[in-house]
Amino acid sequence: MTAPVLEGRKEVAARPRRRPRRRTNDRLVGWLLVTPAVAYFAVFLLYPALSALYYSFTDWNLRSAASWVGLANYSDLLFNDVKYPHFWKSVQVTLQYTLIAVPLTMVAALVQALLVNSIRRGANLFRLLLFLPVVTAEAAVGAIWRWLYDPQYGLINSVLGLVGIPGQNWLNTPELVIPALAFISAWQCGISMIIYLAGLKGIPGTIREAAIIDGAGPWQRFWRVIVPMLRPTTFYLLVTGVIAALQVFGLVYVIFSGSGRSVTGGPEQSGLSYVLHLYLFAFRYDAMGAACAMSFILLIFIMIITALQFRFVKQEAS
């Protein structure tokens, strides 16, 4: 980078000596500036990732030394339902939640983005109001929704009562727990809405006009122009949404926290998300090795799901 510039200044006497000095200097300064970040990376990312892999093959808690058990954690988690009775339940809960929450959130986000995009006056205000739930701490979200879902005095049941729907005990009825959680996720669709809005702004006006001239109605324009043009956005939101939903934790933890630091998985473990289960193993049952194995099962699962999504989209495109 500096070489061509210095080339033009050949008359500078110091040139042959300056260049190498600048280089050694760059080498030093360059490394110096990245050192804090690289040290952080090594200590809090690389080492934990590798040691998590190692510990997943051991029987380990924070007080004792780890003892090697080979693949026992993995095989026990997957097949030993005496030792880990709720493992598959947590998988089922998490998959159900993902399958409901992700599409619901994306549809809500797209609808909101289309509406906001089609108005001029007040667009910024609506965008802001719809974004509000996103910046809210999950501890506060959990607290607010516990109260909203309150079976006796909660706002949800009161509103449903006004239109004649009987109130439900949302967070205490096993079949209703996941829909209730998915609704909270859709309530927080503001980020996806903003990203969809950016996608909509990226559709050239000429394409829309051409479709209108060709006689396409709004419905046709939506399915034939907007949806295809938003494919990259939708794909991005799908991949990141699935990855996030598979790791749902903080919200469930707050919603189902009991006295002290105890936490249940909801009625009949119906809210026992995979990561909540992992957390319980690591920090309640003191089975760090098993928790590490669970985290790698999740990691592998996320990688497979993401690869499949990429594959699927490629096939669709060709």
Binding site: V38, V134, E138, L298
Partner: protein, 280 residues
């Protein structure tokens, strides 16, 4: 667009906005109500007396959660953590990003790719061993344990580097020829030109750490060190958990600062989300 269609769009938007905002209004109203006034068959979005319907707001819920419920101390802790963590993280990330973007040093690009690879690992996978590392460093259950394990972010380095790369390099080259050092260039030229991205990174990282529940939850035992989200969760989990008026006062304390930040920096935040996509 016909008037009827336009009107129906606004009606739909008002309904959706109500769904997103009413929970907050209800939170606020509940937080100002006397205990007995929250138990009504027909919900009241204003703090009024259950029987007479007259205005009956009170601050005693805030008094309780701040002084008895431990949220006052937690609020101060959260402020301290953010005040130290956010600028320190920004500095570390910006220095690294500048070096990766502009200073040719051997092994730079390979190192950067390795760092990016680290972004692929879900944080939950790192959680348990990170606790172990924090313990080994003697920072478990301490204020430093909240700060140091979060003090850099590969994603932020990536975003800052992208922005630095987009700056015209002529200015920096001219400064180099005039004998400016790399650090002078960083402070005097690169940072002033990068205000938009610095703002986005600062705001998103504040929001993230102000709201973060998981890390404080696993790294802290001492209630004196609790941050606001953790103290709020503890309040929910305590025997007071059934007392929605306390909980909602606590939730309001956690929510108000971020809503303030959102209102002040809305343009930057919303642009930043569209630009980075990932964080909230």
């Amino acid at each position: 667009m016909t008037r009827a269609r336009k009107a129906s769009i606004y009606v739909a938007l008002v309904l959706l906005a109500a769904v997103s905002v009413v929970p907050f209004l209800w939170m606020l109203a509940t937080s100002f109500k006397h205990g007995h006034d929250i138990y009504t068959k027909v919900p009241n979005l204003l703090p009024v007396d259950r029987k007479t319907g007259e205005w009956a707001a009170t601050l005693e819920n805030y008094d309780y959660v701040l002084n008895v419920g431990g949220l006052g101390r937690a609020f101060v802790n959260s402020v301290w953590v953010c005040l130290i963590l956010v600028p320190a993280k920004l500095l570390i990330d910006a220095l690294a990003a500048y070096s990766f973007a502009r200073i040719p040093f051997p092994g730079r690009d390979k190192l950067f790719v390795v760092l990016l690879g680290g972004m692929m690992v879900p944080t939950i996978t790192l959680l348990v061993p990170r606790i172990h590392v924090t313990q080994s460093l003697g920072m478990f259950d301490s204020g430093w344990g909240l700060i140091v394990p979060n003090i850099a972010s590969v994603l932020d380095i990536f975003l800052l580097r992208q922005f630095f790369l987009s700056l015209p390099s002529e200015l920096e080259e001219a400064a180099l020829i005039d004998g400016a050092s790399r650090m002078q260039i960083f402070w005097r030229i690169v940072l002033p030109l990068s205000k938009p991205v610095l703002a986005v990174v600062t705001i998103t990282s504040f929001l993230f750490h102000w709201n973060d529940l998981v890390w404080p939850l696993v790294v802290l035992n001492d209630p004196d060190l609790y941050t606001l989200p953790l103290a709020l969760q503890q309040l929910v989990a305590s025997p007071d958990g059934g007392r929605a008026y306390y909980i909602m006062a606590g939730a309001t304390l956690a929510v108000i600062p971020v809503i303030g930040v959102l209102l002040v920096f809305q343009r930057r935040i919303l642009q930043g989300i569209a630009f980075t996509g990932l964080k909230a």
